[in-house]
């Protein structure tokens, strides 16, 4: 299948996924590790993190980040939408 560019919402899902994974494995999600997992430059990651903080989907905890309850709910909804689109051969 032809590789498509990542949409903004897909990048947000990757970031939220990365934060949750790091939170589970290491207790906290540090920006450098989120950057690696979401495959973004430091500048672009910071832009997205600021947006996620403003939307109350993540919160700052010392040097790192955590998902808020709203963030977890949003991530779950994004997965649902992704499954729905994938069922029709479409991508988020």
């Amino acid at each position: 299948m032809k590789k498509r560019y990542r949409s903004k919402i897909r990048i947000i899902l990757d970031i939220l996924d990365g934060i949750e994974k790091l939170e589970y494995e290491e207790g906290i999600a540090l920006p450098t590790k989120i950057m690696y997992l979401s495959n973004l430059s430091y500048e672009r990651l910071n832009q997205y993190l600021r947006e996620l903080l403003n939307r109350n989907l993540i919160l700052r905890d010392g040097e790192g980040y955590r998902l808020t309850d709203e963030g977890r709910k949003f991530k779950f909804e994004l997965y649902r939408i992704r499954r729905f689109l994938e069922a029709f051969g479409l991508e988020l």
Binding site: F74, Y79, R80, I81, F84, E86, A87, G89, L92
Partner: protein, 217 residues
């Protein structure tokens, strides 16, 4: 209005019970298919509201058109019974098929960058004689849905998920129903069976929505 339909239904049943049973079944099957299609449209719209991705809007519009088309078809069956007008039935049928074709084309639009020729291919068919129009529209529907199926087969082979399986099976049944209509357009039993098959296809879409809602990340 409902009383009038009921009274006419009773009268029609006394006159021609077979015709009455056939049209009632026809009406119910189409109406359920339309409701399911609109349900999928609502699901896509909810997703669009949440993430504002255009692709979800295309899905919403596609299923709204398919559902609206089927709803019009169901309504015209009732109006045709009341007015005893076959022309009403034909107009409803063609409107429904056109709406469905545009709906399925929108689904293809979501897969690819649109070309300007696509919608124009539908228009010349309207000029053709009344009897042939329905047949031609049905053939266009088969071609359009078959194209979507080809995409869904590839998607299923790549993803191999239960969700892609549901949508593939659903569109296969919808296509099969249109093929049955094309093979024998004037036999009542074929029409009913084809509508039952199409309904099964839409029921699979409901199963898809339920499995997505219940699924874990």
């Amino acid at each position: 209005m409902i009383k009038l339909i009921f009274e006419f239904g009773k009268h029609a049943y006394q006159q021609k019970p077979i015709v009455y049973t056939f049209t009632t079944l026809d009406f119910i099957l189409i109406l359920i298919s339309s409701i399911i299609s609109l349900l999928v449209a609502v699901y896509a719209y909810k997703g669009y509201i949440l993430v504002r991705e255009k692709i979800l809007l295309y899905l919403n519009l596609a299923f709204t058109l398919i559902g609206a088309g089927l709803f019009i078809e169901a309504l015209t069956i009732i109006f045709a019974i009341i007015s005893r007008g076959l022309i009403t039935l034909a107009i409803g049928d063609y409107t429904s098929m056109l709406a469905q074709i545009i709906g399925y084309l929108l689904l293809i639009y979501a897969y690819y960058t649109p070309t300007e020729e696509e919608p124009k291919t539908i228009l010349p068919a309207l000029i053709v004689l009344t009897g042939i129009v329905g047949y031609v529209l049905n053939l266009i529907l088969i071609i359009v849905v078959t194209f979507i199926i080809a995409k869904l087969v590839v998607n299923f082979l790549v993803k191999r998920s239960i969700y892609s399986g549901f949508s593939l099976a659903s569109f296969l049944l919808i296509d099969l129903s249109h093929i049955m209509l094309a093979i024998s357009p004037y036999r009542a039993s074929f029409i009913l069976v084809s509508e039952l098959i199409r309904l099964l296809g839409f029921i699979l879409l409901v199963a898809l929505l339920i499995s997505i809602s219940r699924g874990r990340t």
